[in-house]
Symmetry: C2
Subunit: 517 residues, 2 copies
């Protein structure tokens, strides 16, 4: 089965209920009330200004605009006053936030556990002594990771590479996949890997080497010889910079740097005018909702996509461009990178979304960021590069942020927030289903059943979507658009009964007011 | 004149003394003693273990190795005990640190001003409420930037784009350069830019558009039409993903993600097995030292490089691949990106290294990270992309880290650390010159005159360099290698007389012991 690997994936695949068991491992209570932790959390939204953004937000945005692009501003926030599920803005408006900084807030604004961490010596020291982690890790690095990120390592990928953000995490995993692919090719050809001494030579050392000719490249031994590889990679040329490619799915989003943006196929605005790698993409199956009504059609669509993935791998290999990495089940020795930058850390009702895919083998790389605060990828020891300093950078993540991840994970576990989110998500989904029947045409293709609160639907048109999101903002609910006409819910893991009630009430009111307009 | 744009640049170009004036603007005292701020800073290195790394470091490194690649570890640090210029490790060894986390520490370990910031409410709130800065900036964002990063904006580039690290900063600037280049092409062709509505369409909207044929691309109007651009960029193809290229210099280092790594030409180990863009690179002039002895030869070498840059731009344009960005003075409408990730923030004796280049026009983009803690690029308003969400990502830097930048900048200014570093660097350079004459062959091509403490030299061979660096570590001085046989000094801005004395004493002792071996 194909898994939802797209970071902005408005869709979420279905999963049998027994997979939910994974979420219960550390979760004695099944429901959580944010009021038990956030004593000052508002009970409902409150909009004081005539419009959202209000006049104070608009003025503050103009000030920022003097030095930084303000055109994507939604509002200017007052983070000191924000609490739990509620985002407060500089006009004093209180918004129920079901977008959560594009899925970056895990356990609520100004969570007391995190604020407590912020005031500790360990956090101050970690924040203010920026280490080059790959060369000078701190005494507490191992423990921070062992008590945090390692406790939620997906099955089969117990090793860790840390980065600063989600794009960096995906590109780090992609680099590791390319290196592992080439190492395997060399091994299969019976050729020794290059040595640290060879690889550490600087560009001037290769000046005397004549560039290898195409005919030489046809000889696998020559093509894989160290000197040919070294000299050519310094010129960004094959074989040292190999003709390998990475495959992704159309409509997927994997980041915005040059490698990750080449994988991203969501919208033109992300990609226009930026040079990109000539890499293949395959159409995502057009899934119809509700899933149980369209089971056989959806199965056929998925089968067509799987066939297309296989064909593409073969077609591109014939062009001399082997697919080294892919964001779906492994085929043809292709490494599987699961991008859990947005889907990871509990919102789908399991800690990692791919737990529900029932894979025969674990993925090769699982990337994370956003709710985790820390970013990076999990992998197996077998994909550690042949030499140190190959996948390396000065900072390689941040110890202070790894501490935040540790506390977030710990709170999620001790309060059963993954199971809580699975239960709340089921209820929310069923209520949204009822709403969609009451307002036909306004909530289409509702998706995310059995996927916690990771729920999305389509409006009738892009314009209707924008109108709906704007009207919800005026009611004090911050929501996010996605794709052309979709709306995605990305609430925090502390989103509970009370907030579901508010969200549904506000949605009903807005849908009524927009009905027939 | 060509400027040293390489982040790991072991060389630093010369500059007339009057340029030093730039550094004095905010600097009443010319010399700073770290003892005035760091009351517990060691007076000299102390090595307790039989070897460096000591047994406790080695054991701690093995523990990390169970989940993360440990092969680039130098030692495991005790950051809580580190102070000022001194890095303490888990064996209790005290090292004078002139590498400073690959140039990432600006004003000393556990600087009291920064530890004080760490304990404030503003820092706790900023750290623990991760915003999507481009859409939901906080109430204090403008002030944090106005009191910090904006106060040191290089001349001519008063706008700011923030990112999470140096590679991201360089790629962000590169994306902005490509977008600005294409916008200018469209404008020159009298073609309207695409609209937000067109650009926000998702990939499925372009499915019905047939891919544009090569012959169509020859027609500039067709090539620049919105629909052709949108449809092609979704397939990573020209013209939407343009055939524009970026040029860099051989031996330069600009980062390790897919775009920045394509610019990097330092060592094969950074590049092997990673697919790269087919982009041009030009040899850096082979400068001979001391500069005053080789003035005319060096001028010729620089002239040859400039000619080669021009030829390359013309040659690649003939192939249909226009150079859009370059890391040197602007030519042919090429945007100039100055990579100050390592050179920025004072260590060269001016706040920005390019202040010494005497450019007729300001650079188009100046990137920063490392010592600034915050990362990003400065630019002119004219290179702001045509639409919001084009150069955008979820996090876009960090408010907490921008506060660190604010305090670091403020301390640098109030204590005249740029001028201090200029003065200390001059003294250090002159002492190193004397050492090089006493130990002929062991310190070659000493460079960085009039460039603060941004000083480097070549050992006799890669082996001799490694031996020297290892021997210095056993004496309690952490130094960094660079390139094939170079040693680079990257001390903090609080590096003063006392530390110069210790460094020279230890160097002399090590050079003596290695002499004739």
């Amino acid at each position: 089965m194909l898994g939802p690997t797209r970071r902005t994936a408005c869709a979420a695949a279905s999963a049998p209920a027994h997979c939910r068991a994974l979420a219960t491992e550390h979760s004695p209570p099944t429901r959580f009330s944010s009021a038990t932790v956030f004593h000052n959390e508002p009970a409902s939204p409150k909009i004081l200004s005539d419009s959202v953004p209000g006049p104070v937000s608009r003025k503050a945005s103009q000030v920022i605009g003097q030095f930084q692009d303000p055109r994507a501003h939604v509002l200017v926030a007052d983070y000191a006053k924000s609490n739990g599920n509620y985002l407060v803005d500089v006009d004093g408006n209180q918004h129920l936030d079901v977008f959560a900084q594009i899925a970056s807030i895990a356990i609520g604004y100004n969570h007391p556990t995190l604020i407590e961490l912020a005031k500790t010596d360990e956090f101050a020291i970690a924040s203010m002594n920026r280490p080059a982690l790959g060369s000078f890790p701190g005494a507490d690095w191992a423990e921070t990771i062992q008590k945090g990120l390692l406790t939620v390592a997906p099955k089969g990928v117990p090793h860790l590479f840390t980065q600063m953000d989600g794009s960096g995490a995906n590109e780090g995993a992609l680099k590791a996949a390319f290196m592992a692919y080439r190492a395997r090719e060399r091994k299969e050809a019976g050729i020794d890997d290059f040595s640290a001494e060879e690889a550490s030579l600087s560009s001037s050392s290769f000046a005397s080497l004549t560039p290898s000719s195409p005919s030489q490249h046809n000889n696998v031994l020559t093509r894989l010889s160290s000197s040919t590889q070294m000299a050519s990679c310094m010129n960004n040329a094959s074989p040292g910079s190999p003709e390998l490619v990475a495959m992704s799915f159309k409509s997927g989003f994997h980041g915005r740097l040059f490698g990750s943006l080449s994988l991203t196929r969501s919208k033109a605005i992300h990609k226009l005018d930026i040079p990109a790698f000539d890499w293949p993409a395959v159409s995502w199956p057009s899934i119809k909702y509700p899933l149980d009504e369209y089971a056989s059609e959806n199965a056929e669509a998925e089968a067509r996509t799987i066939a297309r993935v296989e064909e593409t791998i073969v077609e591109w290999a014939k062009k001399g461009k082997k697919v080294a990495a892919l964001i779906v089940e492994p085929e043809h020795g292709v490494y599987l990178i699961v991008d859990e930058v947005q889907t990871g850390v509990g919102a789908t009702g399991s800690f990692w979304a791919h737990e529900k895919w029932q894979l025969d083998h674990p993925p090769d790389f699982v990337t994370f960021s956003k709710k985790m605060q820390a970013a990076g990828y999990y992998h197996a020891e077998s994909t550690r590069p042949s030499l140190p300093y190959r996948n390396y950078n000065t900072w390689m993540g941040s110890p202070a942020i790894a501490m935040q991840a540790r506390e977030i994970i710990s709170f999620i576990k001790s309060h059963g927030l993954v199971q809580h989110t699975a239960v709340i998500g089921d209820e929310l989904f069923s209520h949204l289903g009822a709403l969609s029947r009451r307002f036909p045409g306004m909530i289409n293709n509702l998706r995310g059943k059995d996927h916690g609160t990771f729920i999305a639907w389509d409006a009738e048109s892009p314009q209707a979507r924008d109108k709906f999101v704007a009207a919800m903002r005026h009611e004090g609910v911050v929501m996010g658009g996605c794709g052309e006409r979709a709306i995605r819910l990305r609430p925090m893991l502390i989103f509970g009964d009370k907030q579901v009630e508010v969200l549904l009430e506000k949605m009903e009111s807005v849908l009524k007011s927009l009905e027939g307009k």
